[in-house]
């Protein structure tokens, strides 16, 4: 696979098939972990790692899994995988676990992982599946970082913890659940509007 192809794939993951804004999957972690840019990146990076590896695993097993029970089989594979990653990080890279530990169990319930297993990895060879996991993960991370920066900036005037505009009062609504829904809704609307103009 050439560099051009890779770029095309990346464009697909981040723009045309963006998991959050175009496929609209994985809304729960999107809403829950975008209170700040740092949290959004933490979740995004964990998803990149797990999605790439679970796509590889599913793609390797795709010929053994009967069609009728593929979903439960995928769930078993993904849940096992996430638990293994969780334990390994906790044992061997404690500083990383301190930073990302709370996000890893949340990944099990992330529909993107199952969605990509079903829509892509179950039908494709190992290498393309790995690349699909990688670009989809990057797309997910980008959208989370976008929502996270909007919410963090509007709530406290900071980005990644650094003050951009000093606020005298915090706009707490943006860090709460309603802020998540408002930001996600408006961003989705804006992206759909831009898309419809393009067509």
């Amino acid at each position: 696979m050439g560099l051009d192809n890779l770029k095309k794939e990346l464009y697909r993951g981040v723009v045309t098939e963006n998991p959050t804004f175009r496929i609209v999957l994985g809304m729960c972690p999107t809403l829950a972990t975008t209170t700040s840019v740092q949290n959004a990146l933490g979740m995004g990076i964990s998803v990149i790692a797990v999605l790439t590896c679970s796509n590889i695993a599913i793609s390797m097993l795709r010929n053994v899994i009967p069609n009728k029970v593929r979903i439960p089989a995928f769930v078993v594979v993904i849940a096992t995988f996430v638990t293994v990653v969780d334990l390994l990080i906790a044992a061997f890279i404690p500083p990383l676990y301190e930073a990302l530990g709370i996000f890893i169990p949340l990944i099990v319930v992330n529909c993107i992982i199952l969605g990509r297993a079903e829509a892509y990895a179950a039908k494709n060879e190992v290498l393309p599946s790995a690349i699909d996991g990688l670009v989809m993960g990057i797309g997910f991370t980008c959208s989370l970082a976008l929502i996270g920066s909007i919410r963090e900036f509007l709530s406290a005037g900071t980005l990644l913890g650094y003050t951009v505009v000093p606020f005298t009062h915090k706009f707490i609504l943006m860090t709460l659940a309603p802020g998540a829904f408002i930001t996600l809704g408006l961003t989705l609307a804006l992206i759909n509007f831009l898309q419809s103009k393009e067509n």
């Binding site: 209170t35 390994l88 906790a90």
Partner: protein, 214 residues
């Protein structure tokens, strides 16, 4: 490939495949757990030692005592000494619900608030100087909501406790008429943390009495 998938759809085959998958994943989990559990326990011990340095005045020996045994979530007490003299006591406690029997064993008043955390029990190490002040609070385990409940681990929130006296009546959040400034959007986590500190104070008071310092 399609042929193989269709052929694999007989009921018996489904049963075999799913059973195999579950068995293999169980095996993998058991193996990984075996490899990692000692290291995870070691990491926790190191973390605990670091936390102890953080919440105690300078000391050279620490005697640990398990006051409530539990494989996952024990309550422990550390008497820290310098030149053979006790300088501080640290209490490791969590927000899990204690039964009346357990409260009795720890000699904690039965009517104490037992506010629960939002997720898994929060674990704290609360350090007291021997003259009855809170020296520091360290959060050993917290799985609260990222960005909201996890803010209990900020200096601003912890300053509610540090250097505070230990009058038990005031140990609740402002919403409940106490002195502790609760976190916005994380009252439950604030309540749970405060309840653990209150329990630790009761444990500390009993220990100081038994040490017979004066």
């Amino acid at each position: 490939m399609m042929n193989r998938i269709r052929k694999g759809n007989s009921d018996l085959n489904l049963l075999i495949v799913l059973t195999l998958f579950s068995a293999i994943s169980g095996l993998i989990l058991a193996l990984v757990n075996n490899v990692t559990k000692d290291r995870i326990a070691m990491v926790a011990v190191i973390k605990q030692k670091k936390a102890l340095m953080e919440v105690m005045p300078a000391f050279d020996t620490a005697e640990a005592e398990t006051i409530l045994a539990d494989p996952m979530d024990p309550f422990e007490l550390f008497v820290c000494k310098k030149d053979q003299k006790p300088v501080g006591i640290a209490v490791m406690a969590s927000s899990r619900l204690l039964s009346a029997e357990q409260l009795k064993k720890l000699a904690i008043p039965e009517n104490i608030r037992q506010d629960q955390s939002y997720a898994d029990p929060i674990k704290l190490l609360v350090g007291f100087t021997i003259d009855g002040k809170i020296k520091g609070v360290s959060i050993l385990d917290c799985k609260e909501t990222p960005g909201l409940g996890t803010n209990i681990n900020t200096p601003a929130f912890k300053s509610n406790y540090v250097d505070a006296g230990i009058d038990l009546k005031k140990w609740s959040v402002k919403k409940d008429g106490g002195d502790v400034e609760q976190l916005t959007a994380a009252t439950i986590s604030s309540r749970a943390t405060t309840a653990i500190v209150a329990k630790s104070i009761a444990i500390y008071k009993n220990k100081v009495k038994s040490l017979n310092l004066k």
